[in-house]
């Protein structure tokens, strides 16, 4: 090991405690979904509470950070040569899920596999079925490619309308099913997912189904189960996961898709060459081998979620049942108004989510301490701001 590398590692050990904030990259989603021309955010303010992007406020665990640090020894090597390598990460994911490496494809965040899915399965004559509101990446890609998009509104409980989505799936190229759903936070049970998949397979066998389980690790509802068995059972059905949420690695870009080997092979062909960086690979391998940390993170989040949901309910605001690390609240006024009022108090909450931007706001969950401070701000803002659901159209310019 070159001398400089050794002194770097020693130096890191002395820099205690090091922070995981760098790799958690809070605020990332909010920034990425802005148009490219937007002004860069104002300089960092340590007093800010960033609860706008569904990131883990603590970043990755210590094992991941230590592995990341050690990985600098191989920073000059391609991620296939580094130790651990991209192949090692693929194997680790496979082992955690009890599948074969051939069932797994890595992405530079799940963003990359979502984009690939739209490219593989849709066309100008095979539309994309998605929900409204839901995570917008697939429909954005569809728009870039000139693929028609059918958006099915969520039901009155904020849940994806599986019946209408299945109807719309006839002749579709791809159905995007985010479970639990971002930004509504709700989920469908294992049984409902299985029925949904079976129905589409029966009524429109050529239609692929992408089940995005980005928030899987945060679910506490006992009726939920991963759709992984369905992905392994059916061709053209696959799940995606990300290490940007519970694993706290939004800044490192690790995601993956799992499905039948033949389905996954097509994704591999489209993957960006060397789509993992060696630091992320090392951190991800360590993290996947540290399930206790994820359990603790899930428990920590559930506590902050309960506190925050209860706060809104006590105040008389309707909150859909969140199974994620954010809550979606009917604040009965435009999200933008609430967002900018909170921002004045250095609390950053979520952006607009059409078609509910006139009534609902998404609040990501920070630490319990952050949520206590944030809810004090919410009380001030909601107590003083003019309740104006009727004014929704003033600010209803969807960011697309």
């Amino acid at each position: 090991m070159p001398l400089s590398r050794r002194s770097f590692l020693n130096g890191l050990a002395e820099t205690a405690p090091f922070s995981a904030a760098l790799v958690a990259a809070r605020g990332r989603e909010a920034s990425l979904l802005e148009p490219a021309s937007v002004e860069p955010p104002t300089p960092a303010d340590p007093a800010e509470i960033r609860i706008d992007s569904n990131e883990n406020p603590l970043g990755p665990g210590r094992a991941a950070m230590e592995a990341l640090t050690r990985a600098f020894q191989d920073a000059g090597r391609y991620p296939t040569n580094a130790r651990p390598s991209m192949g090692d990460l693929r194997q680790t994911v496979a082992r955690r899920l009890s599948v074969r490496p051939e069932n797994v494809v890595l992405g530079s965040g799940s963003w990359e596999v979502l984009k690939t899915a739209v490219r593989l399965y849709t066309s100008s004559s095979r539309h994309l079925v998605t929900a409204a509101p839901t995570f917008e990446q697939p429909e954005r890609t569809a728009e870039q490619l000139g693929v028609p998009v059918t958006r099915i509104p969520v039901d009155k409980d904020g849940r994806l309308d599986l019946d209408k989505m299945a109807q719309a799936a006839r002749w579709a190229g791809l159905v995007f099913f985010c479970n639990p759903n971002n930004p509504t936070g709700t989920l469908h049970s294992a049984r409902a997912v299985a029925d949904f998949v079976a129905r589409i397979r029966r009524e429109s066998p050529e239609t692929a189904i992408l089940i995005d389980e980005a928030y899987h690790d945060y679910v506490t509802d006992p009726g939920y189960a991963t759709a992984l068995p369905l992905a392994l059972e059916h061709p053209g059905v696959f799940i995606t996961r990300t290490l940007s949420k519970a694993y706290g690695m939004a800044g490192l870009r690790v995601g993956y898709a799992v499905g039948q080997a033949r389905t996954i092979e097509a994704f591999s062909r489209w993957a960006i060459t060397f789509n993992q960086n060696s630091l992320a690979v090392a951190a991800a391998v360590a993290s996947l081998n540290d399930p206790a940390h994820i359990e603790a993170e899930c428990a920590r989040n559930a506590e902050a979620r309960l506190f925050t949901a209860r706060y809104f309910k006590d105040k008389g605001y309707k909150v859909w049942d969140s199974q994620t690390n954010f809550v979606f609240v009917e604040i009965a006024r435009p999200a933008r108004e609430f967002k900018s009022a909170c921002a004045k108090h250095k609390v950053m909450v979520g952006r607009d989510f059409p078609p509910l931007e006139g009534t609902h706001a998404r609040v990501s969950l920070g630490t319990m301490d952050e949520m206590k401070r944030a809810t004090e701000v919410f009380s001030q803002v909601l107590g003083t701001a003019r309740a104006g659901a009727g004014a929704a159209h003033d600010s209803a310019t969807p960011k697309k």
């Binding site: 890191l12 340590p46 990985a71 000059g76 040569n81 060459t273």
Partner: protein, 383 residues
């Protein structure tokens, strides 16, 4: 173009290209890595990596980011803007002239995506870095592959002729895997010819190995790219900057052209430590100069060794050699691997004569040439 780089990566993908290392770690269990120094591995002279990795300034910057906590990592976008500013400053350009990507590979793909189509082909050398052609195949863009000339150089005249009606012309200068350079005048003449004969064709010059060039005839095409919307120059942090594992590349061009490329994927694939590292590295010209000198000495040593042993290398302007070993590369490669030295894969149509060998440290090249000597049956130490 059946054996693309992508296919290569995929083939070896599960264990990584370092087959031996992967096999070892698979057997030993991954967690065994924790807390221990990794075991010895073969000399990796197969992927054109910088054997020293990034410089001290990079290590310090990343260390500071990891250590500072809180604010250091919160604003990804601010860091990307800062990176584009730093790159622009180095080239006397403005941030609107810069796009960054997950390695220059992502930028190459995006360029093929936005500038080619089924009726606007890609033009590339028959033997060159395959990313563009591989991606063109995926999206159904025809590829006009132009064979090298008799000196193994890219045939600029034939490429310019073929560019008529094409969407994109890809020019890797110096070229991988032949290591050969076209001088600034020749490249400029080629660009002028394409722009005149086929004004709708975009020209992508990949200068991945720019920092290793020692030939005085070399001239970067960045100034042309900044002025002309039809010319883009791609660079990478994977070679002289020593950051292949971190995944960062960039391109410079006219703001309209750069925006088209950047809008395709956005900044979604950029990782934060790489952005921090790249900002430090782009400002550290002294490290790049030292790295070039180090590479030049190790490169010359290796070229001389082969020459004395009776094997001719091309005039390498990169961190690798393309050597005529006068035998099938496969058997040479396997024999070297058995002795702990990895050299590159086959590059048809030269798979029976020329091997690509990346340049490690001088010490590594001394060890490697000992092995080459044994494998090639060279009697005495030639160098």
């Amino acid at each position: 173009m059946s054996f693309t780089r992508r296919a290569f990566v995929r083939t070896l993908g599960i264990g990584g290209a370092s087959v031996l290392a992967a096999r070892r770690s698979a057997g030993a269990g991954l967690l065994q890595l924790q807390g221990s120094t990794p075991a010895e591995r073969p000399l990796l002279l197969h992927n054109n990596e910088n054997p020293l990795g990034p410089g001290q300034a990079v290590l310090d910057a990343v260390r500071a980011s990891l250590g500072e906590g809180g604010p250091a990592g919160r604003y990804t976008y601010r860091r990307v803007a800062e990176l584009h500013e730093a790159i622009a400053q180095k080239f006397g350009a403005s941030p609107e002239n810069v796009v960054s990507g997950c390695g220059s590979t992502q930028i190459l793909r995006s360029a093929v995506q936005v500038f080619t189509s089924p009726d606007k082909p890609l033009v590339a050398g028959q033997l060159t870095y395959e990313e563009c052609a591989g991606y063109a195949e995926l999206i159904g863009t025809p590829v006009r592959a132009i064979p090298l000339d008799r000196t193994l150089k890219l045939d600029l005249g034939a490429m310019a002729d073929a560019a008529k009606g094409a969407g994109l012309l890809f020019l890797n200068n110096p070229n991988n895997p032949t290591a050969l350079l076209h001088g600034g005048d020749a490249v400029s003449a080629c660009i002028d010819r394409v722009l005149t004969a086929s004004p709708d064709t975009t020209i992508l010059i990949d200068e991945a190995y720019h920092d290793y060039v020692t030939d005085k005839a070399h001239r970067t095409q960045v100034p042309t790219a900044l002025k002309n919307p039809r010319v883009i120059v791609a660079r990478t942090f994977s070679k002289a900057h020593g950051m292949a594992g971190m995944r960062m590349g960039y391109a410079l061009g006219h703001p309209d052209t750069v925006k088209k490329i950047g809008d395709w994927d956005g900044a979604n694939a950029l990782n934060v430590p790489a952005v921090v590292a790249a900002i430090a590295s782009i400002r550290d010209q002294a490290r790049l100069d030292a790295e070039r000198d180090r590479n030049t000495a190790a490169r010359q040593f290796t070229i001389d060794w082969f020459a004395k042993a009776g094997f001719v290398s091309t005039d390498s302007q990169t961190n690798f050699l393309f050597v005529n070993i006068k035998r099938p590369v496969k058997e040479f490669r396997e024999a070297c691997r058995a002795q702990g030295v990895l050299v590159a894969r086959d590059f048809p149509p030269f798979e029976n004569s020329h091997v690509r060998i990346s340049i490690g440290t001088l010490d590594e090249m001394k060890r490697a040439t000992d092995v080459f000597g044994k494998v090639l049956g060279v009697k005495a130490k030639a160098a």
